[in-house]
Symmetry: C2
Subunit: 321 residues, 2 copies
């Protein structure tokens, strides 16, 4: 695990090939690429469904949805689906899983577009490109984000197995709403310039990032109708979500904007509560490792079927952008 | 129909009791009040479901959701449900209808909160009170609007009959998204200062307002599982939606901010395309009447069960705020 072993100074200019040369991470890179291709393929034909909609709105949606994100959440949906359903590509749940993967990525992308708005984080750069409102204007960016949410639910209603649709809608909606991502964002804003305790910081992170990552895992298990699998991937998602956010906080301190494709060192400037500001860098890295260990332990009941998830979990903690 | 008969000058200071003293409108007022009470009761207990969410976010949501709107869309859901299911309060679809009524009002309210934002219409006044962002700030108003959408879908997933949930999710999502309300708003923005043809203006209106009103009617029929009723209330909703928007445009020209509880005469100032700007006031009123007649004709197959819908349709066209 590079994050624990490497000299902290090295994080200022890490070798981008290092994590990819690790055998376990290489697996994750391939997994992410494969699942990313699946969801990208879905998005490419999705526009046809909305052919009679205003072109500029579709352009604004497409600009952010196809901006080259890591597709971590869709990959979690699809990899959890495979871990729970087995590797049979003819599993009837596959269509539900792809719909859920696309839906969760739309919700994630919507949150980025709205978070970047001048009234929110006021960011100019995202994934190495100008943010949505910089290109399309604030009003269109607000509408594009709004539309991503309704399209996410429309996709599920159209493509997901009706037998699992209620649970899927509930999983996405509750993870996104006041008790999840949006609530976490609101809490984060309220807490600016107030020093949080570790449990309070964990609460923000569970809501802001963890809920959607956990939902991604649950959606895969739901698509597979894998009742006994659901508990394991839910636990996995919770620990992975915390690890992910800690690493994100660490990278904000230790990376350059060029590496991240977005502004860095913004958290401290805004008085935001982060793991490094509360625990320091080293203890934060140890905590990320501890969460990773717990995430991996959660997968024990799934045996070898979860090897892809294990590789992805390590990748998330080892990543440097 | 007051709108056709009354002297245009009277619209500057109409007697608020006049429309209520009409027997058919009085029926509509009672219907709106009854269904409004139902959905308000639902909203009052809804907060308990989100008790562990950030209080200020819930306050911001509640501020706009409980701002005293007419509850026209929920009333359409519930009245269409009754028209399609009969007057049996023990109909098992009633819970689905109430959930759909609440969901559609949340979607409507979200659109108002985001439309009022400085980057959009930049309105200070809504329903006679300061707009959401004036009270809670822009960032929280964006988040509160976002959360209303996810809560709408969460309510449906939790409360609606799973047998009708896919059709309900599809009805709400497609009416709200790029092909519906949000698309209409985007189109409206694009078209500012361009002179539209009547068909183009009707397209904007069908998307921006009509789609959600039509969806309201469809949701009621879906809750009642009234297949044969669905076509009738869909047609009804389409014509009512156009009539509604024409009257809205007319009122923007002829009313005072005190009557409307929001800024008026804003459309012309912003170069927005409206019926009065395209057809003139009198022809606009005639067109509203024509759409009302077609809406009423659509209800013929439903007989006396649709009397409440007839009263509501007349009320929409006769209203003066």
């Amino acid at each position: 695990m590079f994050i624990a072993k490497r000299d902290p100074l090295r994080y200022d200019r890490p070798d981008p090939l290092m994590s990819q040369s690790s055998p376990s991470s290489l697996g994750a890179v391939e997994i992410l690429k494969n699942h990313g291709d699946t969801v990208n393929g879905f998005f490419r034909v999705l526009r046809d469904r909305y052919a009679d909609s205003p072109a500029r709105l579709l352009d604004a949606i497409e600009y952010s949805v196809m901006a080259g994100g890591k597709r971590l959440r869709p990959a979690l949906v699809l990899e959890c689906f495979l871990a729970c359903a087995g590797r049979n590509p003819r599993d009837p749940g596959h269509k539900s899983a792809v719909a859920a993967a696309a839906a969760i990525e739309l919700i994630h992308t919507f949150s980025l577009v709205h978070d970047d708005l001048p009234a929110m984080d006021d960011d100019d750069l995202r994934r190495g490109r100008p943010t949505n409102h910089k290109v399309f204007g604030e009003a269109m960016a607000i509408l594009a984000g709004d539309a991503m949410v309704t399209v996410a639910f429309e996709i599920l209603a159209a493509d997901a197995d009706p037998a699992v649709l209620p649970a899927m809608i509930h999983a996405i909606a509750s993870a996104s709403g006041p008790q999840g991502m949006i609530g976490g964002q609101a809490l984060d804003m309220e807490n600016e310039n107030a020093r949080l305790s570790l449990p309070d910081l964990q609460r923000v992170h569970r809501m802001k990032t963890g809920a959607l990552l956990t939902a991604s895992c649950r959606l895969g298990a739901l698509a597979a109708r894998g009742e006994q699998c659901l508990q394991a991937v839910t636990e996995f998602g919770r620990h992975l979500g915390l690890a992910f956010q800690i690493v994100d906080d660490v990278l904000d301190v230790t990376s350059t904007p060029e590496q991240m494709g977005k502004a860095t060192r913004k958290d401290a400037g805004k008085g935001k509560n982060t793991y490094p500001s509360l625990l320091g860098l080293e203890a934060s890295r140890r905590e990320a490792q501890a969460q990773l260990s717990q995430a991996l332990a959660s997968l024990d009941p799934l045996g070898a079927a979860a090897n892809g998830l294990r590789a992805m979990a390590r990748f998330v903690v080892e990543r440097n952008n």
